[in-house]
């Protein structure tokens, strides 16, 4: 799952139409995704996995 998050960031800049360059709140979607959303989601996934493992 985390590797999929990385793969999306690898592919996003080369997609036709450059959807990553669209802005939301003044910041490009690529940056929102790569610097905020994906790392946060990956961290939550990891914390969940660690929680399950410890039970």
């Amino acid at each position: 799952m985390i590797l999929v998050l990385v793969a999306v960031a690898v592919v996003l800049p080369v997609l036709p139409g450059a959807p990553g360059a669209l802005r939301a709140g003044g910041v490009s979607l690529l940056w929102w995704y790569a610097a905020v959303a994906a790392p946060l989601l990956a961290t939550l996934i990891t914390l969940g996995a660690l929680l399950v493992r410890s039970e």
Binding site: P39, T43, A49, S54
Partner: protein
């Protein structure tokens, strides 16, 4: 913060990766978003997967030691760059950082304090971000949007001094008067018709060089100059929009992105201790990564010219010069403390890998690694080149063979992992030697040799596995069955 959680996080959040990410964000590098993401998630993958076993074969041990040595070298380079920025000699920063870290890490009590050191380092990085936010009066996303909306990236008023930590060539897009700060010899390459003429100028303090559009200024390492405020920064993205978007031809973007991801993910799996307990190990890379991104954004917002020619530490070290006095003090002190504390915490975690690989000679090997790192950092080389080479080698010659063949108990001599390691290292070295000379999309393999070398190592290791092992699904201890450390 548990000691194991700190060991996990600290192995990855060293000063080189922090400074490289901040500088790449500040410079608007096309790979900056992906670098930020992979930096933050690579240790999470290492956290969740089984640990990479200790290197057994001499070839794999050598790869492990070279990898750790490369990471230590990259970390020390940051301090050499800092010393050069402050007007000192590179070796002074390198020797000071290496000697202090070595002294701390050889003390048995230091391991118990690792969590505290890491927490203090992270707190200092966060303090830098907070001081920069107060100085600019903007949130990171507002600062990003403001920089992205600038019609041109120009030298700020009162923040147009730059000291060059390595030989640098600047190409000017518009007429520019450069003032020498101190004496030196500068060369200017001018176009005259179809030919280029290089003129050498011996300059004294406050001498002015007038450059025309298209001229190139060749500055030696250590040179210090003052640019014209309000003029475009040579070599920087032409506008805020270009800074925000980056630019690279599609043919190279995909393989380069894959190479970057493979390099960092493989390096993290090799170096970061796995299966730590507690949330610290998962959350610390996120906090440090966010802080590095914010530092890069604030650096270009405060003083875009500061990132020019100032080496890996530019984004962190350049901000104090553009901030008011009180904020500058916080930025300088917290930034310096953050780098130092993260260096010590990182070294404490990496030392475990050296102990595994070097055995009884670990103390001498550890000392030798720091001596070599200090000597190597005196040479003006980019920390990212060293760090990505070390992590790429680990991905190619350490992790890939292990993923293919696992650990075979009792395997002696030329085990599949050893053969894979050697093949991966050779392929990595050959591709690295061609860096910059491979055309088009293949150029990504020169930038990130792990892109090709890791699959080569994997293929060699899996081919070399005993046929009986392959038929049985592996009598070897596969990665999924490897016990925890």
């Amino acid at each position: 913060m548990t000691r194991r959680g700190a060991a996990h996080a600290a192995a990855w959040t060293g000063p080189a990766l922090l400074a490289v990410l901040a500088s790449r964000v500040a410079w608007g590098h096309v790979e900056a978003p992906l670098l930020a993401l992979v930096m933050m998630v690579a240790p999470l993958i290492a956290l969740l997967r089984p640990p990479v076993p200790a290197a057994l074969h001499p070839a794999t041990r050598l790869v492990a030691l070279v990898t750790v040595g490369g990471v230590v070298w990259a970390n020390v380079i940051v301090f050499a760059d800092l010393a050069a920025m402050l007007g000192g000699a590179r070796w002074q920063g390198a020797v000071l950082a290496a000697a202090l870290t070595l002294l701390v890490t050889v003390r048995p009590a230091a391991d118990r304090a690792r969590a505290v050191v890491l927490a203090a380092g992270i707190a200092c990085v966060v303090a830098v971000v907070a001081a920069a936010a107060v100085t600019t009066g903007r949130t990171p996303w507002a600062a990003w949007a403001e920089v992205a909306s600038r019609p041109a990236l120009v030298f700020a008023e009162g923040a147009a001094d730059a000291r060059f930590t390595r030989d640098t060539t600047l190409e000017f897009a518009e007429a520019h008067q450069v003032v020498a700060v101190g004496a030196g010899v500068f060369r200017v390459a001018e176009r005259e018709g179809t030919r280029t003429v290089v003129r050498e100028w011996s300059v004294r303090d406050n001498d002015v060089l007038t450059l025309r559009p298209g001229d190139r200024l060749l500055l030696p390492a250590g040179a210090r100059v003052r640019f014209e405020a309000g003029k475009r920064i040579p070599g920087a993205p032409a506008s805020g929009a270009q800074w925000a978007a980056g630019a690279r031809e599609a043919a190279r973007a995909l393989p380069a992105g894959l190479g970057l991801a493979m390099t960092l993910l493989g390096g993290a799996v090799a170096l970061v201790p796995s299966r730590a307990r507690g949330g610290t190990a998962a959350v610390a890379p996120l906090v440090v990564g966010w802080a590095a991104v914010c530092c890069g954004i604030y650096a270009v917002s405060l003083a875009p010219g500061m990132v020019l020619g100032s080496g890996t530490a530019a984004a962190l070290a350049g901000m104090p010069g553009a901030a008011p006095r009180a904020a500058a003090a916080v930025l300088a002190l917290a930034g310096g403390a953050a780098l130092g504390l993260l260096l010590v915490a990182s070294a404490q975690s990496l030392r475990a890998r050296v102990v595994e690989a070097a055995g009884a000679s670990a103390p001498a090997t550890w000392t030798a690694l720091f001596a070599l790192a200090a000597a190597g950092a005196a040479w003006p080389i980019d920390a990212w080149r060293v760090l990505s080479a070390a992590l790429g080698l680990a991905a190619s010659a350490w992790v890939a063979p292990w993923l293919a063949a696992g650990v075979q108990p009792g395997a002696k001599g030329w085990s599949p992992v050893a053969l894979g390691s050697i093949a991966g290292a050779l392929a990595f070295g050959a591709l690295a030697a061609f860096d910059g000379r491979l055309p088009g999309g293949a150029g990504a393999a020169g930038d990130y040799p792990a892109l090709v070398a890791a699959p080569v190592a994997w293929a060699v290791a899996i081919t070399a596995r005993r046929p009986s092992a392959r038929r049985a699904g592996g009598t070897a201890r596969s990665p999924s069955a490897t016990s925890d450390r």
